[in-house]
Amino acid sequence: MFRKIPFVKAELDVIGMTQGYARRPGSPIRNTPVTPRENMISLFYDKKPFWMPTFGELAMTGSEVYTKHLGRGRACDITDVFGIEWEYVESAGGSIVRPGTPLLDDVNNWKEVVHIPDISDWGWEEEAKETKLDPRFSHEMSLINGFWFERLISFMDFMEAAVALIDEEQQDAIKELFAATTDLACKVVDKICELYPLVDFINVHDDWGSQAAPFFSQDVAYELFVPFMKQLTDHIHSWGRKATLHSCGHNEDRIQCFIDGGFDLWAPQNMNHIKELYDNYGDKIIFAAWPEQFDPETCPEEEQRRIARKFVDDFSTPGKPAILSQYGRFALTPAFSDEMYEYSRKKYGELFG
């Protein structure tokens, strides 16, 4: 019935701001006829959104418990539970392992040096009690530094990790290691899903490519990664949640791996050809997309509005919903976001009303 409510200008009123994540500003909360969470759930489950949502409406949240033990998302140096030292780089807003002293030089030795932790007494319950999530939003819990290639790199440095992927003498050990890290990931998912009923999405990180190409072949991906991805996404789905993927790099050639790995959404970086991906695969996985580039300082308001309408038109094929990606955040001027909301709200009303 809500779909029958016609758009009125008062919907554009900003009635608040989301909290923001990772030192980034929040997103405006509008005076919408259904909540952003209802819109997002409608988008993911029925593929019939009420309006084109922004990445900010899929409210990213993090667990300090997770990042302290397993992640790298904190704005300080940390030693993770495996003993890996992460160095925070202020200017980049992220952490990196200083190369040169890897924990592991041969994956066959992983059981001697990599100790899979018991996560049960890390203080999940206490953290959840203190965490207040806005029920108007779908929340996406981010598991920064995932469980497969990124984790292997943190153990071995990049070059040894890359070589191990095609070393027949290490491949079985990699599968054993990934089975263990995936099991660990499932336990983390259990904690999040048990304790955070407002978390609808679990965001998993695994960077697979450089700015020019994937790091490894599709054969390697299917042999070593996809089965474990599928195991984790099946587990996320068993909790009634959706699985989203953060995989940096020029990875469009690995899209079928992400689909077969069971992910519901991928947010590609903008060196990928998003329209082509959307046209060819948008019915199988949801994309976080971005509009054509413009300079918010110099682009006239009418032009910004035209770009917003084109963006909605380009990514509104029925059965292929999309959201505005964080890589399109340059576009979030008042004119663009007002136009994107109003135009998509009217268009989706006609399409799905």
Partner: protein, 211 residues
């Protein structure tokens, strides 16, 4: 297939365990060590570089090929007359100050070494003075400067400016690369070349030195 062709094939396929034996066999059969190096290995690595550029192979395959060549060179070295037979020049390569990324820099080191250079890897987080100091070596023909962050591009600019002030500047070429770097930026800061990937870096470096 000749022994040198066998070596080339083994290098291309990254067969590090096979290459040393094949090099020994080639030497026993009287093959010219310089030809083994050039045709059996460096040319093979050029093929690998092309395949990498065309996304026919990926980082792991390129790495194992470079390592296979290295194993072969170890066997070959005693048979080569002198360093001029082995090396076409020296390259010093590093990631700029404030930047800890080493993936691209390491790939460039391997590919440039595979193209016939002697490589001095300066590591990551390298101050401009260290680049200049290393470039003072008269054998240095290439200085490679890497940056992976937009926030460390100013450090790359400062490094290239410092290198451009070096009294022996005409002795070496400055090459830059990294995810945020463009040809336009390279031109702006006064670098001699920008290359988008490790394989191209190797071929451009080689062209600078041997024409």
């Amino acid at each position: 297939m000749s022994k040198i062709e066998e070596i080339a094939s083994a290098v291309e396929r990254g067969k590090a365990k096979l290459v040393p034996g094949l090099v020994e066999e080639a030497l026993d059969e009287g093959a010219d060590p310089v030809e083994i190096l050039n045709k059996g290995m460096i040319d093979a690595m050029s093929v690998v570089g092309e395949k990498f550029k065309n996304n026919e192979i990926f980082v792991p395959e390129m790495l194992v090929a470079a390592r296979a060549m290295k194993k072969g060179v170890e066997v070959l070295k005693p048979s080569l007359g002198g360093s001029s037979d082995i090396s076409i020049g020296k390259a010093v390569i590093g990631t700029v100050q404030g930047d800890l990324h080493d993936i691209g820099k390491n790939l460039v080191c391997l590919m440039i070494e595979s193209a016939g250079f002697e490589v001095q890897d300066l590591g990551v987080d390298v101050p401009a003075e260290k680049f200049v100091e290393s470039a003072a070596d008269p054998d240095v023909k290439i200085v490679g400067v890497s940056a992976l962050l937009t926030t460390t591009m100013p450090a790359m600019k400062a490094t290239v400016e410092a290198l451009n002030q070096a009294p022996n500047r005409e002795n070496f070429k400055v090459m830059v690369g990294g995810a945020p770097i463009t040809q336009e930026f390279a031109d702006e800061i006064g670098a001699d070349a920008y290359t988008p990937d490790a394989a191209t870096a190797a071929s451009v470096a080689k062209a600078f030195v041997v024409g």
